[in-house]
């Protein structure tokens, strides 16, 4: 099944042209501009944003839309995976060593996730890293033979997966109703609003990652439909 030779000749040519133009654009973008950059504006406003870590304040305050839509993308991907069919059969039960190792690693991962969530306000960390830790805990449990990767029953899974998007959206709409504009946090309580959004987003990201790893509709729904 070799691809035709014309393709093998044309693709490098296309890539070369693409690479040259993109490389020129990269070089030009790096040294061509000398005015004020967006980074300076953002870094100046960080103390007012409710989080002292610049990446967190960009994610949840300055570019809140982006993160909201990103959570919606995650939810959509999960809906797509769930609509394609039931989850794969669980992994075989683990041996003694793996089982006791999992008993140590999973609580540690969950604690690390909570720590990363809290520390995200002023140091590297935040909802995505914490969600990744929860996801890793669930994947570890799944690989050790747990049928649902530690996830609760199916209605709870649906609620948890949608929670991040829902809270984020309701927060934005609520702030709009209070006259402050969509996702424009009042200065005094910004820290707490961001923390609520981050905590729910962490749960949602973790649950979505685990459910995506399981790769299909939750078990209870499958049993009911058959």
């Amino acid at each position: 099944m070799r691809p035709p030779s014309l393709l093998c000749l044309l693709v490098p040519l296309l890539l070369l042209a693409l690479g040259l133009s993109l490389g020129w654009a990269l070089g030009d973008g790096l040294k061509g501009y000398s005015g004020e950059r967006l980074a300076e504006v953002a870094l100046e406003l960080v103390p007012e944003s409710g989080a002292t870590h610049p990446v967190t304040s960009v994610l949840l305050n300055f570019r809140g839309y982006d993160t909201l839509l990103e959570l919606a993308v995650l939810l959509t991907a999960l809906l797509g995976i769930w609509s394609l069919g039931p989850a794969a059969p669980p992994y075989p039960p683990p041996g003694l060593v793996l089982a006791s190792l999992v008993g140590w690693v999973v609580p540690l991962l969950i604690i690390t996730g909570g720590y990363l969530l809290w520390v995200g306000a002023y140091a590297p960390g935040g909802a995505f890293q914490a969600g990744a830790m929860l996801g890793a805990a669930g994947v570890t449990l799944t690989l050790a033979g747990h049928p649902t990767g530690g996830l609760p029953a199916e209605p709870w899974q649906r609620l948890l997966a949608a929670l991040g998007t829902l809270v984020f959206l309701l927060m934005g709409l609520g702030l709009m109703a209070l006259g402050s504009g969509f996702l424009i946090y009042p200065k005094g309580i910004a820290k707490w609003l961001i923390l609520i959004i981050e905590a729910t987003a962490t749960l949602s990201i973790g649950v979505t990652l685990i459910a995506a790893f399981l790769g299909g509709r939750p078990m209870s729904l499958r049993n009911r439909s058959r």
Partner: protein, 99 residues
């Protein structure tokens, strides 16, 4: 801007570009869901790498947080897309088995 920082940015930016091109070439030329998914992920990594390189401002200075936020969301979107693609692939194989 400091030439040393510019050189580092250019070096890593060009590596990111090379990853992007390699991934696209592999995506076009190779067959099979596997190789294409890996190629797609390498393309994504290349794009992220360019963004991280552009955000670099030297070892002493805080890097640009905006590309970092973009990459952070991008990584999570990439993994969900990969999971969706794998689910599609599995579904297709099941359909072919039944047919």
């Amino acid at each position: 801007m400091n030439p040393e920082i510019l050189i580092t940015q250019m070096l890593y930016g060009c590596i990111g570009l090379a990853l992007f091109l390699l991934g696209i070439g592999s995506f076009i030329l190779h067959e099979g869901l596997w190789r294409r998914l890996i190629a797609l992920n390498v393309v994504g990594s290349g794009v992220f790498h360019v963004l991280v390189a552009v955000a670099y401002r030297g070892l002493e200075q805080t890097p640009d947080p905006i590309p970092h936020a973009l990459v952070l969301t991008g990584i999570v979107v990439a993994v969900s897309a990969t999971a969706l693609a794998l689910a599609f692939g599995r579904h297709l194989e099941d359909q072919n088995d039944h047919a």
